[in-house]
């Protein structure tokens, strides 16, 4: 499985499958930590310094998130915030996981969340987090489908620690093993 971080996705062009046109670019990720799922993207106009686009892109309207582009079928998949699903048009504040402390159920801190890790080719499945370990270096941890998150801390199973990896390629394999171990398939 091919993975990318949220910061790799920011700035990607949003391209129509049927039109071959770059209609927007990703400004930021709207993420719902409790569900472990992307809600959608806020958008910029294409090009440098071209400013914010009022429309948003809901996760269910995404054709595929790729390494080089976010694909949508047609331009009408971009919606005004008031027409978009609630979590996208009006994201709840205060539950941003970036900067949260990752705590195991046993009470050990694995580090601080730096970014989300997404599955390439999918519709916005968040499969892990990029973290900064207490010792300072970066690591990647897989994510079970359900977890507790408070806005300051994220609680993960104890087994998460042994599946932490130093790079995204390692995490790709670890995600499957981790979910199998937890009985999540």
């Amino acid at each position: 499985m091919l993975l990318i971080t949220g910061s790799d996705v920011r700035g990607l062009p949003v391209v129509t499958v049927r039109g071959g046109e770059d209609v927007a670019q990703v400004r930021d990720i709207i993420y719902q930590a409790q569900a472990g799922r992307l809600q959608g993207f806020t958008l910029n106009k294409r090009g440098f310094f071209s400013g914010r686009l009022s429309e948003v892109l809901a996760a269910e309207q995404i054709h595929a998130i790729g390494q080089d582009a976010v694909m949508i079928l047609d331009e009408d998949k971009l919606r005004a915030p008031e027409e978009a699903p609630k979590g996208v048009g009006d994201p709840e504040g205060g539950r941003d996981v970036i900067g949260n402390d990752v705590l195991t159920e046993g009470g050990k801190s694995l580090g601080e969340i730096k970014d989300v890790v997404l599955l390439v080719g999918g519709h916005g499945d968040v499969v892990g987090y990029q973290i900064k370990r207490p010792t300072g270096e970066d690591a990647y941890i897989p994510l079970p489908s359900q977890l507790a998150v408070s806005g300051t801390s994220l609680v993960v199973p104890d087994a998460t620690e042994e599946f932490a990896r130093d790079d995204l390629v390692g995490l790709g394999a670890a995600v499957d093993e981790f979910r199998t171990k937890l009985g999540l398939g």
Binding site: D22, G66, Q67
Partner: protein
């Protein structure tokens, strides 16, 4: 016999009615839905004119025969204007899989000069059947992930 975009570009266009040259082919415009050549662009810049595929009397190896000089028309809408300006040019265009992964640039397009039907799109050493063409615009040519490239011999 098949023809290719790289060979057709620059080919002279001649009026069948008057036998007068009317310009040279600068671009070929495709319709991604029917996977055919929709029109040709003759000339460049502000003098660029569109000829619909239906107004050709023949696309030959030495000349593109246009029914009559009145077959050359001004771009009718925004998309045709983009085509006349070369912004929809397939050659050199970014080839993007529908999964959002870049394949490279389109090096050539093989088509049937009798019908205008596209046959294959060449991206580097990969050949993609025209059936995998999903969309063609000013940013990219989008190809179906399933039809992805067998390598050319």
């Amino acid at each position: 016999m098949n023809d290719r975009f790289t060979a057709v570009k620059g080919r002279k266009a001649v009026s069948r009615d008057t036998a007068e040259p009317v310009g040279n082919i600068s671009h070929l415009l495709v319709d991604a839905t029917s996977k055919r050549i929709a029109a040709l662009v003759i000339g460049k810049g502000r003098r660029a004119r569109i000829v619909d595929w239906e107004r050709l009397s023949g696309l030959g190896a030495d000349a593109v025969m246009v029914e009559a000089e009145d077959a050359l028309r001004e771009p009718a809408d925004e998309r045709e204007q983009a085509g006349a300006d070369g912004k929809l040019e397939l050659l050199g265009q970014l080839a993007l899989l529908e999964s959002g992964t870049e394949l490279g640039r389109i090096d050539d397009v093989v088509f049937d000069p009798d019908t205008g039907h596209l046959q294959t799109l060449q991206v580097g050493t990969g050949e993609h059947p025209a059936s995998s063409l999903l969309g063609a615009g000013t940013y990219a040519v989008v190809l179906a992930a399933t039809g992805s490239g067998k390598s050319a011999p």
